[in-house]
């Protein structure tokens, strides 16, 4: 006669449940760690900006030589990359993510203001790009535009690209949009103070920003210099 041990089914069910819970907790732990990681970068940027502002106020006229980009925070690009990843992984309305994005938007504006101040002081002409996008499905071309900007950011770190989720509930961002009387067409780019709408490819961007050609030359020069250097070193070794 067939026998059944129902207790065994219960034990198996409990163990399975325990494994499931562990997996959920583990996943949650990593998600929290990501948030913590982003927070610490944001805090670092915040301190960087504050420190630069203070330095600027203290000296009023800091010597513009040796200044260049080093006074501006270098972490914004890596923060942008990480936030983009989280935007894809997490649901749109995740409160944690929205908070991080608002903080990020504020830091971007602060960074922009500082950039402006320093460049006025020192006669630098940084290339500033504002990018307005949306992830809520009403901007099919935003994904592609995002790839273009990610590429430009990595290729030419001299570009100061600030991206804003147009849906974000932050008055500073709204003010920024109103300064350039931005329409609701997305994706929208503000390059050198002028607003343009629709998808812009890498080639389009190169046309819109003549400085890119200069950056390209500089980069090529730098690369050939390093490669010559390495060959010379090799020769020396031999």
């Amino acid at each position: 006669m067939h026998k059944v041990d129902l207790k065994k089914y219960l034990v198996a069910f409990i163990i399975t449940g325990a494994i499931f819970t562990t997996a959920i907790l583990l996943s949650n732990y990593f998600n929290n760690k990501r948030v913590a990681d982003i927070r610490s970068i944001q805090d670092k940027i915040s301190i960087d900006i504050l420190s630069s502002e203070t330095q600027f106020d203290l000296l009023k006229e800091i010597p513009c030589t040796n200044l260049d980009n080093s006074i501006l925070s270098q972490e914004l690009n890596s923060l942008a990359e990480k936030l983009t990843y989280m935007e894809k992984e997490r649901p749109q309305n995740d409160s944690e993510l929205l908070f991080l994005k608002r903080y990020y938007s504020l830091l971007e504006i602060k960074d922009y203001l500082l950039t402006k101040k320093i460049s006025e002081q020192c006669g630098l002409k940084p290339v500033v790009i504002f990018y307005f996008y949306s992830n809520s499905g009403d901007c099919p071309l935003c994904e592609k535009e995002g790839y273009v900007l990610t590429y430009l950011r990595a290729e030419y770190p001299q570009l100061r690209i600030y991206s804003f989720d147009s849906q974000i509930d932050l008055s500073a961002v709204k003010t920024l949009a109103s300064i350039y009387s931005l329409k609701s067409d997305l994706p929208a780019l503000i390059i050198g103070g002028k607003a343009t709408y629709g998808f812009k490819s890498i080639e389009d961007m190169e046309k819109l920003i003549p400085e890119i050609a200069k950056f390209k030359k500089e980069k090529a020069l730098l690369e050939s210099a390093t490669s010559t250097k390495s060959t010379t070193t090799k020769k020396n070794v031999n």
Partner: protein
């Protein structure tokens, strides 16, 4: 609320995925518990010796098996068992090749009877053999399989328990050389473990054609084999369960089977198996979830049906995800060309996938590896990975759903499965 929960609730496919992973994990945990409960008993069984040697007759049904039948019969004659207690009945089921000529060499052998009949299908050939014996124990050995010397003794010791009505062996792939054979080699070792566990809980759903041994009483009481969608070995096991007859497994009785050598024939064989299982299980559907049929109704049947659909779903999900990923990559390439900024192999943990499903799939994977090791351990007393792991791991998950889907499709359209050629 955990963001992960939101994620799940947002999509039905995601929810279905979690449900299927939960059930798969449940089945694995259940089998592991069964192993832990019975491991001493299994070890004891391994070292036990047969003490009595009753009369056994083995039918070898053959249809166009000229290449392997002699080897099959010779392996039976070489069995370590008293010669006067073992009879081999070769039934040529109307072969159109030289099978009948080839088996003539056994016509004067005192242990072998040879018969020729008109072709009628495997079940008719086995029944033909059953009608021509009065041995207390009967069995069948497909003409594409060979037995190890000690296989019969390893099986007969289980019949000391008067409740045991049938014993199934540990089936292995004979000399796995091709990729397809190697994949099956691993799969069979895994099956050895699973079948043993099912045996420990009286829930074996098939008494395989290669060398399952029955008390003759089973057929005297229940009647002969039926056609049963060309899976007569599943039908008889289900019929036995319906009459509360006990089937156990001998994990040390090694039987080697050739196994299909081409993907095409493997697919045909598996479509026949899965189709046969679904059709037979549907004929015996009263067994499902009925406590009086024990773990067969509560575990084996539901687990088998669910794993068929899980296999199909997992593959669809994987293909869907891969296509999705590919389309994304295409958009990236269209937009920025091949100008990827290559940042070496420095993987930042931040960008690793740490979704709940990833952890669960890792658990499922490692439990499966454990089962394979345990299968190897119980049958060979050595826990080692069998040959073919490198092919099995990446390929099986993609190949198996093809026959699962085809079989389900055939069941839906009531298309009949055909026998395949092994050689």
């Amino acid at each position: 609320m955990f963001p992960i929960m939101l994620e799940v609730l947002q999509t039905l496919p995601g929810l279905l995925m979690y449900g299927m992973i939960f059930l798969s994990l449940f089945f694995q945990v259940f089998l592991l518990i069964t192993f832990l409960e019975n491991k001493d008993k299994i070890n004891k069984e391994t070292s036990e010796e047969a003490t009595s040697f009753p009369r056994v007759s083995i039918t070898v049904p053959c249809y166009n098996e000229e290449r392997s039948v002699v080897k099959t019969v010779n392996s039976l004659l070489a069995l370590d068992y008293p010669k006067n207690k073992l009879k081999v009945i070769v039934v040529d089921d109307g072969s159109t090749d030289a099978t009948w000529e080839v088996v003539q060499r056994f016509k004067d052998h005192p242990q072998v009877d040879i018969y020729h009949k008109e072709n009628g299908g495997k079940h008719t050939a086995v029944n033909y053999g059953l009608e021509r014996t009065d041995a207390t124990f009967v069995g069948c050995l497909d003409a594409d399989s060979f037995v190890a010397k000690d296989a019969l003794k390893s099986i007969m010791k289980y019949f000391r328990d008067p409740e045991v009505m049938a014993v199934t062996p540990a089936i292995k792939i004979y000399n796995p050389k091709s990729i397809i054979s190697k994949i099956q080699n691993v799969e069979y070792i895994l099956s050895i473990f699973i079948r043993k566990m099912l045996g420990m809980m009286d829930a074996i759903q098939v008494t395989p054609g290669p060398f399952s041994i029955f008390r003759k009483k089973v057929f005297d009481t229940l009647g002969p084999y039926k056609q049963a969608y060309n899976t007569e070995d599943m039908e008889i096991a289900m019929r036995m369960h319906k009459h509360h007859m006990k089937i156990v497994n001998s994990h040390t009785a090694s039987v080697y089977t050739l196994g299909p050598k081409t993907l095409r024939n493997l697919l045909k064989q598996r479509v026949r198996w899965i189709y046969g299982f679904l059709k037979n299980a549907s004929d015996y559907r009263e067994i499902f979830f009925r406590r009086k049929y024990g773990n067969l109704g509560l575990f084996t049947f539901p687990a088998a049906v669910i794993s068929i659909f899980t296999g199909i779903y997992f593959l669809c999900y994987t293909i869907y995800s891969l296509i999705h990923l590919l389309l994304k990559k295409i958009v990236v390439i269209q937009t920025v060309g091949f100008n990827f900024t290559f940042n070496g192999f420095s993987v930042n943990w931040f960008f690793l996938d740490t979704q709940t499903t990833v952890f669960l799939v890792i658990v499922l994977f490692f439990v499966t590896l454990t089962f394979i090791l345990l299968g190897s351990y119980i049958t060979d007393q050595k826990a080692r990975f069998p040959r073919g792991m490198l092919y099995y791991l990446p390929l099986y998950g993609f190949i198996a759903p093809i026959w699962l889907a085809k079989a389900v499709y055939n069941v839906a359209l009531s298309r009949k499965a055909k026998w395949e050629k092994v050689n």
